[in-house]
Amino acid sequence: MSLDEYTRREFKQVGTRVRRPDGVDKVTGRAMYGADATAPGMLTGRILRCPHAHARIKSIDVSAALALKGVKAVITGDDFAVPEDDFIRDVQENCMARGKALYDGHAVAAVAATDAAAAKAALKAIKIDYEVLPHVTDVDEAMKPGAPVVQAGRVQENVPKGYSENVTAHFEFGHGDMEAGFAKADKIIERSFKTAATHQGYIEPHACLASVTSDGKADLWCCTQGQFYVRTLCSSIMGMEASQLRVTASEIGGGFGGKTTVFIEPVALMLSKKAGRPVKIVMSRDEVFRATGPTVSSSSDVKIGMTKDGRITAGEATLRYQGGAFPCGTTEFGCSAAFAAYDLEAVRTYGWSVLTNRPKEAAYRAPGAPMAVYAVESVVDELCLELGLDPLETRLKNAARKGTKSSYGPTFPDIGLVATLEAAKAHPHYKAPLKPGQGRGLSCGFWFNFGGNTCVSLNVNTDGTVGITEGNPDIGGSRASISLMAAEELGIPYERIRTIVADTSSLGYNDVTDGSRVTFAVGLATIKAARDAIKKMSARAAKIWGIDPEAVEWKDGAAVPAGPNAGKFPPMSLAEIAAVSAETGGPIAGHYEVNADGAGVSFGVHLCDVEVDRETGATKVLRYTVFQDAGKAVHPDYVEGQMQGGAVQGIGWALNEEYIYGPDGRLQNPTFLDYRVPVASDLPMIETVILEIPNPGHPYGVRGVGETGIVPPLAALSNAVSHATGVRMTELPMSPPRVLKAIGGT
């Protein structure tokens, strides 16, 4: 890790609440999202989806569909070559089934037609003969020997015998002597928990516009968190060279991890290739729920030992995650995050990845962490209650800090958990009185954060303005943050900078907008690109002045002689240097390319007060406060926004959101009517307290802030409801019927 990047400085622009550059477009309806693009001769693409939870596709007859007027192409899984790579094959098969449909909503065929009505008629005309197979959607059921096997041959070597083939992977993390740890405890509590699958719930359904030409070139416009990764996946699936596929990211209407992969893009490309015309596909909300990434559902056991004075002596968690019909990559994150907030001598987490007849899990904000931390933080809370300990003091006593060997391996550098807990302790919310029937809950949360492949170009224009080209879709104000960091480094006003998000042909590879990486990694690359440009501008000034480039330094947006020995020249501003660049060597640009490490982990603490109606089981959130370490809040408004948005998604997960399957294995609530995301009237204001404990791995100390906020709410709410009702809650969501039943009201 490069932990020497940070230097303390007084910021002039970073930390201010400037207007975002895309604001006017977005409040006037002008911003172009996935579904807003058109192309000459464009066809409408539609996808046919399997109505069964699990079915062999015995035959597909598309002849009647093809014979209809206006229908220009029909494709099935057989139109795609079988990718050699397992992972790419999974992505492709999730986009369109081959041989077997693995979940309700799995794509089985697609059409392109001259208008929506013709496309709809074509879907109806496709005849599919299914052999319906037994299915399984529950994680615990799917693990049992004899359960219907979703996919055979996917079991990793380290999975012990005695389980269903649906169990594909096993993980183990931890250190210390567990037996000795538990022996030291005065109180041990062991509990089992369940959490339902939830969906990212972005308001913009997936949409794309593909155009493949007969000479093998292609353009793809889509709403995605990562245009470069879309290019990688689509070019692999289509057997194209990356250079021939240009992917442009539209404005994105929310993603939260759910737009980090492809669902409809390869289908649109294949339809376009076959039809010889541009094809647009826009998912319906029903398709979004049935066929795009929900998060995992989980079943877990947690056992924690504690001494009378509140020291945790040992902690153990077993996490069983189902990630749908394909091997799930999230279990490992859950195992690593479960005990991350604690400094433990003995800790162990075991993870199991399980296949079920559900849609393929996609990343959702801190993937895998919320349900793991929910279970652990619930048991810690119960121990505090049983032992008569203050839950905040107890967490402080056991908190991970600099030098702690984390439960997942690495030793922590400077981290902000203790400061965050102290801030919560000092906040009036923690001491505010509660009325009967009300309860207060508390939980810590954690996310690793991520750096990754990043490159940035910074062009100095001859009028003294600056253009920044970066490669990560702006999902919540990142163009403003990137411009701010460049302005800070260059010493010019924020308003003189414009940051744009480039297509895949205009810049080197950038990893997906995920892992809370953009402000950290793109910010770092922007700062370094600015320094590169500064070096070049200083050299130009040196050339004009006839002095050594080393004798020039950059101060307040201008080149100045480095000292009295360098010579006496008035400062040359960025604008002055840029204006004469043609005479001093041509255009000036700064670049930086990096696979960034040094991302700083971010801890959060959430406090919430609830009131439970004992006659209906309904929970009302009365007050909510988020404390989180941002490292450095580059644009505090959008940092607060991330904290608030994450908290509210977590509140939804805790109280009402869930994937509901019927006995037939079909999803029963693929609508915003019955998949109940929080609405404005459900919520109080979400107070925020930003902590700034600098990340040593970033020049300005930035950590990511996007994901941590969804981790604590599950346990914070569950602990609050448990306190309000006097009954320990162990299953999410805590929907009113479930709560009423738990408290004996029905």
Partner: protein, 287 residues
């Protein structure tokens, strides 16, 4: 599909009666368009009734109100006299959907969609509201309670449309209330609901009570015994408990994604209790 914006009720009824294929009536469209979109229905003819004279008006009649079939929830909420006389009816219709849906949705549409969970229906039935129906054979009146026949089904005959709802005059010392339970604070379909209409004696005891439950049976249920349990009382705890019990006894709900049998049954009693207390206070009763 053909679209017809009928100019008169007779034209609408005639077109609906003459159509051999599937038909739908469009007033607010907040159910019909969802069904069209999902492919659940593919009508051959859709008749927009909003251009029929008088169908968007609320008029005083015989001490009560006649409400046109195309009057939106928002318009009902803005009619002060109607809201004062029948607050339970007004709050029921205003609970349908969002503000946006309120701009379009109608009581009659809610009634004819025939969902047992329709928010407008329990209070209308509790109010003894009467539907006026235009059809190929002319006009007839029918108690609202007799319109729903089961989930998605009504007793209306081919070619018939409801043109208005009549809410009778209110006696003195009478009022109503409607409550539903939903998991969120807005935007959900009722898991269970209760409309209560009360008339009090001069001494504050209940003279008459009509209690109607929603989402706990294939159609709304008139809980006669529950109403009787309140008569002669001033809603003491014992009366309320007996009333809740009587509500639970008439429930015949289903288990689904929105609620369990046991939960819905329990909620019906709880909501009826709470709604009765509100109606009682509105009628001038004091405890």
């Amino acid at each position: 599909m053909r679209y017809l914006a009928a100019k008169t009720a007779a034209e609408a009824a005639g077109a609906l009666a003459a159509e051999k294929g599937l038909t739908r009536i469009l007033a607010g469209g907040t159910d019909v368009l969802v069904q069209l979109r999902s492919g659940m229905v593919e009508p051959d003819l859709i008749v927009d009734i909003k251009k029929i004279p008088g169908i968007r008006g609320i008029v005083a009649e015989s001490g009560g109100f006649r409400i046109g079939a195309a009057v939106s929830g928002a318009e009902i909420g803005e009619h002060a006299a109607l809201c004062a006389a029948w607050p339970g009816v007004a709050e029921g219709v205003q609970l349908i959907g969002s503000t946006q849906v309120q701009g379009r949705c109608t009581m009659v549409g809610n009634l004819c969609n025939a969902s047992p969970a329709g928010d407008a229906v329990p209070s209308l039935v509790a109010a003894n509201a009467v539907a006026r129906i235009a059809g190929p054979d002319g006009e007839r009146d029918c108690p609202v309670a007799d319109i729903p026949a089961g989930p998605g089904k009504t007793t209306l005959k081919k070619g018939e449309i409801i043109t208005s709802i009549f809410l009778p005059a209110r006696p003195d010392r009478a009022s109503d209330a409607y409550l539903r339970f939903i998991p969120r604070t807005e935007m959900d379909i009722a898991v269970a609901s209760a409309g209560v209409s009360l008339e009090l004696n001069a001494d504050g005891t209940v003279k008459a009570a009509r209690i109607v439950l929603g989402a706990v049976a294939p159609t709304v249920v008139v809980a006669d015994d529950a109403g009787k349990a309140l008569v002669g009382t001033n809603l003491d705890d014992g009366a309320l408990a007996a009333m809740a019990k009587a509500c639970e006894a008439v429930c015949n709900p289903i288990d689904d994604k929105r609620g369990t049998i046991e939960y819905r049954t329990k909620m019906a009693g709880t909501l009826a209790k709470r709604a009765a207390l509100i109606a009682y206070a509105r009628a001038g009763g004091s405890k």
